[in-house]
Point group: C2
Chain length 165, copies 2
């Protein structure tokens, strides 16, 4: 998480400096910001598809439980969690950029909320990794329990840092 803090700080300094010294590059910086928003949204959307598959086979329609598919889905959740997706949240990307909207709250970049951010991110990372570990075993009940724990970490982060609409 220190790394994320460093990246956030470094990127903020870099962006500030860039806009001041090279105003002509503002458009390019906007394109990069736009792509960061789109890329993180892609990661969360693909992860959500896989969380949805897990929910279906573990909660809504247990008869469809398939340990191999559960493992495949859990591995996506784990991989997204370990991908460094936090580096895509840079200051300025809490606003609409080139028409690309985001639901991230400015609170994500509020120094007063840094400890909360570190906690929710660390919690999600830990539980997502556990989910993939548990999924290797193929035990439906154990996967379901761990799936619930991951879901709670998603909600905890959304409550603090994501607008509902």
């Amino acid at each position: 998480m220190r790394q994320i803090q460093k990246i956030i700080s470094a990127t903020f300094l870099l962006l500030s400096a860039t806009m001041f010294v090279f105003p002509a590059t503002a458009h390019s910086a906007g394109d990069k910001l736009e792509n960061k928003i789109k890329t993180r949204q892609a990661g969360y959307k693909f992860m959500a598809w896989n969380m949805g598959k897990l929910k279906k086979m573990l909660v809504d329609d247990p008869i469809s439980f398939d340990p191999k598919k559960a493992l495949g889905a859990a591995k996506v959740v784990q991989a997204v969690a370990n991908s460094g997706i936090g580096s895509l949240f840079v200051p300025g990307s809490e606003k609409t950029v080139n028409g690309v909207k985001t639901r991230v709250k400015p609170a994500l970049f509020n120094p007063a909320k840094r400890d909360t951010l570190i906690k929710v991110a660390t919690d999600f990372n830990r539980e997502a990794n556990k989910l993939a570990e548990v999924a290797v075993g193929g035990d439906e009940d154990a996967i379901k329990e761990q799936f619930g724990k991951v879901g709670k970490t998603c909600k905890a982060c959304h409550k603090e840092f994501k607008y509902k609409d």
Copy 2:
């Protein structure tokens, strides 16, 4: 791959039957198709971000090579490959749906191209899994070589089944 064939066939039958028997559900079916296109695009976009990180640290800027980040990126590529993303390619999703464009070629649903599809999909899956295995070892040269092999399987599929623009 048999599973993908079954899903494709079953979905085709289901869609055909649905449109014939319940024309009122056409809008709902369109929404589902739209979401399938968006979800697969999200998967490929997030994977592309991670392939891009690997390219940067292995090819463009080797001094930035970081075995931990390489592993994280390789795990995303592997997870997307093993996620069952092929199930998101259902007949009808080769067209623009609700304004959502796709670059998939109709050839993907051409029975005469089925063997080619199975080959490119199997090749990608195999090489993506090898990439994650090799990345565990942390050997830069070995990861670079395997990264190149994965890239070739991407291109082989795109050549047959994806429009450039």
